[in-house]
Symmetry: C2
Subunit: 307 residues, 2 copies
């Protein structure tokens, strides 16, 4: 069944006029990741490529298009994890770079640490020659409009959070059986400065282990952290649950125990995969054995040949 890449573009309620762009975005990211896998590339390279494409797509809440914090600024979190070594790299509250997921990989590859935050992450980016971009280049008209709307006296913050287009992420298994995950986000609309969510937190935003599988998560960050959702789903898989059943068990537990909604993409070492969510929608796509799979609403599963 190997190789496979599965991508998500965030769980939540996606406005109708943006749903086509969102589906097109995850499909193109999954295709790009699959091209790497088909060429014998590694699962790490595949998830990096897929997530970088979603960061560069202004339609998603990561990289360009990130939601704005309370001060109207972009602060981003990202994580990668390598299932062979259990090594990971993450950045939190990082600014002024186009692709936080690539900086997270540099943390993993080039330092003895697992996470760098804020100004320390920026210094590391400069030392690695990562180009700095202007803060404005990451802010879209749409994200600015939503930020301003949410500051208005009659704003309904719950409703505007519902409208968010979430975190992006990917999991993959390559032809050698190595497994990786990557997750990237602008976080939560109108968050406090310096707020760190689940994404860069290992076991919450993602986890990968060649012996068990990998998960990348999206949804209400604080709820995901309460149940360490990615690691929880992998524990269910260790107990013998299928990748789909384990994903559903994790999401159901998060809903019942802490009233949290979200979604995940998951794989097991054999390349079996799942894209599951308890939110209204989650844009997702998977590519395996020359077939592209994708969907947006519960129960939706379209396929298309990649031949």
């Amino acid at each position: 069944m190997l190789p496979v890449v599965v991508v998500h573009g965030g769980a939540g309620h996606i406005p109708k006029d943006r749903s086509e762009m969102s589906t097109a975005g995850v499909c193109s990211a999954a295709r790009a990741g699959y091209t790497i896998l088909r060429g014998g590339g590694s699962s790490m390279d595949a998830v990096l490529e897929a997530v970088s494409i979603l960061e560069n797509n202004p339609c998603f809440n990561a990289g360009c298009g990130s939601v704005l914090n309370i001060k109207g600024e972009v602060e981003m979190d990202a994580i990668v994890m390598d299932g062979l070594t259990l090594g990971s790299g993450a950045v939190s509250a990082v600014r002024n770079i186009a692709n936080p997921i690539q900086l997270a990989r540099l943390v993993m590859d080039k330092t003895s640490h697992s996470c760098l935050t804020a100004e320390g992450a920026s210094q590391f980016a400069r030392s690695m020659g990562v180009p700095e971009v202007s803060p404005e280049s990451l802010i879209t008209e749409y994200s600015h409009m939503r930020w301003a709307k949410n500051l208005a006296p009659d704003a309904n913050p719950v409703e505007s959070q519902m409208g968010k287009m979430g975190t992006v992420g990917a999991v993959a298994v390559d032809s050698e059986g190595n497994i990786a995950c990557a997750t990237s986000t602008g976080g939560m609309l109108n968050k406090m400065e310096g707020r760190v969510g689940d994404t860069p937190c290992i076991g919450s935003g993602g986890y990968a282990d060649n012996q068990v599988g990998a998960v990348s998560t999206t949804g209400h960050g604080e709820a995901i952290m309460k149940v360490t959702l990615a690691r929880l789903i992998l524990f269910h898989m260790e107990q013998g649950q299928s990748v789909e059943a384990a994903s559903d068990l994790g999401l159901a537990y998060m809903k019942s125990r802490v009233s949290g909604l979200g979604g995940v993409v998951s794989v097991d070492p054999q390349g079996r995969w799942a894209a599951r969510f308890s939110s209204l929608q989650m844009s997702w796509a998977a590519a395996q054995t020359e077939t592209l799979h994708y969907g947006l609403y519960v129960g939706e599963h379209f396929t298309q040949s990649l031949g």
Copy 2:
């Protein structure tokens, strides 16, 4: 058996001339936590008090006495978790405050977020009226000497990390059966600016769940993160392992899978507890049923009446 508080002062190799101070420090912290529990106080108040005392003690790597980063500055991480709600609060790379653990609790109690980092955490501290302290007030002669020594051309960074007096933490169960954990650290000697370790990462530096138990960890942060050590031990407890066996299983797995050493204090909902470590030493103390327990080397277990 309730209530109980268990405290650690860090895993690693503790220089002989500092071992008495270290043991005295954890014993005094456990006594203070137990006084709160005996008076009907909550487990959260007990772990906060115990960890605040360790932060204020220059002998430990947290608060005053924190190890210095590569630039000779103090940046601290801390987390608290409430086993009733699964709510948590954390700060990472925070500067210029005496008690990061108290700021972590304010994040939990006063915001809708779970973690604030760097300058955002400082801004929040100011908004809450937390007094700012001078950077120098957190730096001891000993931590400055070790930092300088480690920069010398003939320095052996592995040896100097070994000499570190680690992270501090506590777990407690109160008379109502509520469970809490708290962990606080200055991190790793000569770390990069902005390095975030396991401590503020839920499931790695600590985890608390009234239905299962609580764990606070210490040791090599990046290894702890690779196996999400706190959550891993609690999964073993969910599978029916005793608090002691689960702690040993978690530590043994970390050693065999990622060659990581460390230590933990753990409790279950009945108030059974363990203080276990794979490092050479860990200063620890526990207080329960009018008895103080403490130790430093493997197999050491002294007791003393609290009556």
